[in-house]
């Protein structure tokens, strides 16, 4: 479902990084571990097609990202990739429900209210659909971000340090939700982290 080989990246400063090869099946959860500055986030951005690699190839759902460019890549990402960041960010002027609807619309899909409401219910955000993101707690925001990442039933979900801002309870909850939601849509879940709380839960690990 998600594979990469021979990936490398050269920073504008000239510093070059080589990344280990990946090959993840559908429904698999994998941790991408490494110290700060080891290029974890850069690798995630290469995998999501947000940066161009100096060499190597990323294949998502059989599609080589290097064959897509511009709008086609944006469109492919919208349909097949869900992203979760360290701190949850939203379109601040839209309600939680509108943010999810926007994610559907930008991916070129029709707005599916029952899908959105169902997800919010599952993520314990049933009453928060009409709230602005700024009105949610940090834990609620991260759950809403998960809802947004999976609303389009992507093939791959990338999570960049999703738990570093959360306490132990919320971490447990968020990881469980991430895994169960990824499983529900049979998506590959790749989590970039240096959070040791996760290494005990998820055995599939790649080290940088």
């Amino acid at each position: 479902m998600l594979s990469s080989n021979n990936l490398s990246f050269t920073y504008p400063s000239g510093e070059a990084l080589k990344f280990p090869d990946l090959d993840c099946a559908a429904g698999e959860t994998r941790l991408l571990l490494g110290k700060s500055g080891s290029g974890k986030t850069t690798m995630l951005q290469l995998l999501a097609g947000l940066r161009q690699p100096a060499s190597g190839e990323v294949i998502i759902k059989g599609q080589r990202l290097s064959q897509l460019s511009g709008t086609a890549l944006d469109h492919f990402r919208g349909q097949n990739v869900g992203m979760i960041f360290q701190t949850a960010h939203f379109l601040r002027a839209l309600t939680v429900r509108e943010n999810l609807a926007m994610a559907q619309q930008l991916a070129g899909k029709p707005t599916d209210r029952s899908r959105i409401d169902g997800l919010l219910e599952q993520l314990d955000l049933g009453g928060k659909g009409n709230a602005l993101p700024g009105q949610l707690s940090v834990g609620q925001q991260q759950r809403a971000a998960i809802a947004r990442a999976i609303v389009n039933q992507p093939a791959v979900i990338f999570a960049d340090e999703p738990t570093s801002a959360l306490d132990d309870d919320n971490t447990q909850q968020v990881i469980k939700l991430l895994q169960s939601q990824a499983a529900a849509v049979n998506a590959t879940l790749l989590i970039v982290t240096h959070d040791n709380r996760l290494t005990g839960i998820i055995p599939q690990q790649t080290h940088l």
Binding site: T41, Q45, A48, L50, R51, G70, T71, D74, H75, R77, G78, Q79, V81, M83, F85, T87, H89, F90, L91, R92, A93, L94, E98, A101, M102, A103, Q105, L106, A107, G108, T111, R148
Partner: protein, 428 residues
Amino acid sequence: MNLLRLSWKNLTFKPLNALLSVLLFALSIGLISLLLSLRKQADEQFDNNLAGIDLVVGAKGSPLELTLNSMYHVGYATGNIKLGQIKAFFNPKHPIVEDVVPLSVGDSYRGYRIVGTIPKILDWYGAELATGSLWQHDFEVVVGEEVARINGLKLGDKFKSNHGIIDEGDENNMEHDDDFTVVGILAPSGTVMDQLVLATNQTYWHAHEAHNDASTNHDDHAGHNHAGHNHTEDHAPTPLMEEDPEKEITSLLVRYRNASSFQSLNFPRNLNENTELLAANPAYEISEVRRQFDSGQQILGVLVLAITIVSALSIFIALFTSLRERRYELALMRTMGAGRAKLFLLIILEGLIVAIIGYALGLLLSHGLLAILAANVQDDFRYTVSATRFLTEEGYLFVAALFIGFLAAVIPAVQAARTDIADTLTEA
């Protein structure tokens, strides 16, 4: 949840940021629209009231005052002229003058001016009776459409005139004792006729003979002949020129046989140099007024231009600042599948929304002001202002407004489209 709604939500999320832009834009559009409307309507009124009049003849004084008073019924008369002085104008064989209309002015009814004249004036102004008949005998009046409408006058109604020109509602004025009788009402003509009360010239003399006090110090007043002319109620109509040559009227409206002939061109100068009369060329006087108008309008134009530039800058700055705050959002939209073109469009739409709201508010402002003007200006200047009339130019103004909104948004929009997703996401 489409882009337009997102643009709208972005603007209303921090409404104060957008408010200044919208207000400035509305101010600029409002002023432009107001200037256009006032100019257009003033031009039309000047033109409608020219009535093919080539010359105005009156007592010595300011030619502009004479023109404004005799043709637009604004301000005060320069004085009176004796019938004996102007006898030649009535000669049907006059080589230059084709036709004349004599005017006697100075009295009013509830703020509307009473003009002593002959029915020919209606043909000149293209006005027609809606009902009733023309004024023939003294103290018979035909009232303009607006006069009848505002005062609820009907055929057969009687009223007393006010001595001098006074504002409506001033109760401490002197009334003439004689009753005027409404014999006719004019159809609306879009000219100053709508706002006048028309009577015979002779009526003026009789009205002023009825009382011999207080009026002698009014120089602007026609027909101050207080000699013992017997006022008879049932007066047979006498042609004006068969009256006593010592009698006075205010002015004469003149049409030439051939306005471009050499004699016609020299005629006003001859009159001014060789007689006690003042001859004013209304087209020239009005073009002078317009010139004054134009230079005033130019100064306003510069002001409006400055406001327009500032309002465009304000839209630009507001978008630019909000963009800095929303960089992460824009990167986020890219990760969710929005292409660069969508982000460009999003910001352009925000600029256009400000422009459209500003335009709507601006038109509301200008036409609201016109409505207030209409209520206040009319009595003082005989200048009918319509607040509900929209000009084609205001349609062009909409296109211009959209263009300005686009222009102000285009740099921020390019900036938004260029958002580097990875760098922005890594920064935050």
